[in-house]
Symmetry: C2
Subunit: 411 residues, 2 copies
């Protein structure tokens, strides 16, 4: 069984609203062992949507559409599905009564267009929506089963989990092929070097399939297999072990874990406290560490010492040192790490100083230059980098590099 995902909405194809439904539905289908063949985004256009539905039903056994079920005339999923299935729209008396009752309770007049939400393709079964006014439905289109879900993410999520997935599981039956994915997260090597180290495992036709993707400095290695459950699990485990053996310490986590998560959890587990002194990252390092619930047991605090005066006043960095070597230097990064550790009374201190750009660079100290230091109970480790990319990317990779340095200093 294969699935296709469709999202509809003018705001999506204009790029004004990010389509998060596709990724969320894809994850839910993967968890059920249903591979997704592809996904389509179309505007609020009945003919284009009907055409996309026909193609999706030709390509897949299960089609999940989100959006276009609202009460306004640009909500055309009901009509497009009816057209693709070659059936008429019928008004459902129970849905109409429920809509009228909902407005009666509020003592407000119901706009006539709201009744559109009681229409559905002939033969469709209604999927109740306990999270909003627009119910979904499920209907056969050709040889495929099509689920239509509301577009607002929290409504889609509710109707998917409560109504669509149980019916999908019934369709799948008890014995089925599973699709399993395992992702290993790495940091510290370029994608090409990672790919080279595991090139034979990535060869076409090999099972499990292995692929890499690079996202803002993190390289993810994904292992993917389909088949009978225990065989798939064993094959993925064997491939994972081989990849871990070859890649060594650059593997920091799995299945979407971030460096922030991994470092924070490890600090919490070992009862280690940490404090940070940041310059170019402006608070992002503290934010990454405190993204994890319960981090108050380990994170003592931080100083964002943006101005040199702040480095002197709040961290006690020597003003003469700043004058001599400049704020973006190994010595200042080391002094910041130590000051953070000592001032906050923590086990670890981290210092980050750099030039995020676009301005402020020079031949000697270019944009992207970052000095990091970690003071672990008096032992200081330093790293110098020149990072590529724009201001946001430099800041983000500087944070990841600092977290990676903490990870390695505490390993």
């Amino acid at each position: 069984m294969r699935a296709w995902i469709l999202s509809t909405g003018d705001e999506l194809i204009r790029g004004r609203t990010a389509d998060t439904n596709t990724a969320e539905i894809a994850r839910a289908l993967a968890a059920e062992g249903v591979p997704v063949a592809g996904a389509t985004l179309v505007g609020d256009d009945e003919e284009a949507l009907a055409d996309a539905i026909r193609r999706a039903c030709a390509a897949a056994d299960v089609v999940i559409v989100s959006g276009g079920l609202g009460p306004t005339v640009d909500d055309c999923t009901r009509a497009a599905v009816a057209r693709a299935a070659g059936v008429t729209l019928v008004r459902d008396a129970a849905l109409e009564a429920a809509l009228r009752a909902r407005f009666a309770v509020r003592a407000t007049a119901m706009p006539a267009s709201n009744l559109l939400q009681a229409d559905r393709p002939d033969g469709a079964e209604t999927l109740p929506n306990r999270h909003g006014t627009a119910p979904g439905f499920v209907v056969r289109v050709g040889g495929s089963t099509l689920f239509a879900l509301p577009g607002p993410p929290h409504e889609m999520r509710g109707v998917l989990a409560e109504e669509a997935l149980p019916r999908l599981r019934a369709l799948l039956g008890p014995s089925r092929t599973v699709v399993r994915t395992r992702a290993l997260e790495t940091f510290g090597e370029r994608e090409a070097a990672v790919g080279e180290a595991i090139a034979d495992l990535m060869a076409r036709g090999r099972s499990p399939r292995v692929g890499t993707t690079a996202t803002r400095g993190t390289i993810r290695v994904v292992i993917h297999a389909e088949g009978e459950a225990s065989a798939v699990d064993a094959a993925i485990a064997a491939t994972e072990a081989e990849i871990r053996r070859r890649l060594g310490t650059i593997v920091f986590g799995a299945d979407g874990e971030t460096l922030g998560d991994v470092v924070a959890q490890s600090l919490l587990a070992s009862g280690t406290t940490i404090a940070v002194a940041e310059s170019c990252t402006g608070g992002l390092l503290g934010a990454a560490l405190t993204d994890v619930p319960g981090m108050s047991a380990s994170f003592r605090g931080g100083v964002v010492a943006y101005a040199n005066e702040a480095k002197v006043a709040l961290l006690g960095i020597d003003g003469a040192l700043l004058d001599r070597v400049g704020a973006v230097s190994e010595d200042v990064a080391r002094a910041m790490a130590t000051a953070a550790r000592v001032r906050f009374g923590a086990d670890l201190g981290v210092g980050v100083t750099g030039i995020a750009g676009p301005g402020g660079g020079s031949a000697e100290k270019p944009v992207g230059l970052v000095h990091l230091a970690v003071d672990a109970r008096g032992t200081v480790t330093h790293r110098r980098m020149v990072l590529p990319g724009d201001r946001a990317l430099v800041r983000e990779i500087a944070v990841k590099s600092a977290l990676d340095l903490v990870r390695r200093a505490t390993a």
Copy 2:
């Protein structure tokens, strides 16, 4: 002229990585007056991608593909485009030389697989990539023009702006119907209240079209019109003026500006300096303010006073006060704002303290309780809120609310 957008990557159809390229490309095309007919997401599968390319080229005059140009064997856009166009792949000598030169400079061995990036469909023109190793290309497929761009968002963005859009403009020629969109960004009212205030402007059939979308506390009002350029511009300007008149001070910006951008720019323009003292937001407020280049002229620094000891030691908050009213309280927020202003010698100080959850709440002080304060040269404004949502959302809306309080305190 109509466009179709294609994104490729197993990560995308499994929902493991969010596809942000489609929305970004859609916005860029809209700005050029090119309507997007739809978008497709497919995995790293040469045959499926070739099929999607053929369909896209049948449906649209311009097709923009992102992803699948990297150096590993699962990057199959080059081969899929060649297959869809019915041409062979050829290795480009200039690209090969450039790749080899790039590695020679670094004095590292080039993985052999990197040479895949020098392949391209016969007849394609290379689109240089100054942001990474994978160049894009443009080629005719049937009657359509296909642009292939690298997948990493910052590389896609660079090649799109520098190489693809100039060629697209040449294709479009001088006279054309434009599609214009204007978005007004608001903060401080619920979506239903915003919609109520401009309900008549949002009526179906009216031109320009007006719609609202809510994203993590920010409500965006989008005005959209198509037609002859000067008429469209005038109609959008008139509708914008009316919406601004009705919504008043909750409108903080336009076209994707964030509260951080707006506040930072306003501080820079007026030469006002700022410092922050954060607790539950862990550094996110400082990060939001320093997202803007050149902010070192205004942002003095911050303290992330997560532990109570840090509030006492680094901010000089009275330990007895903390014991009496608790860290999450109006008095402590006010004291943090003043301490930030005074310690960093800034014009403005901001204090944020709250309970981001999921733990740490009580009947009296529930999860989501946030106290904010802004000290503007000695005049302190305070705000108490109980925010909905999970830890990440509480932190994000707390930051936005703090920025909004700064905006209003300095208006």
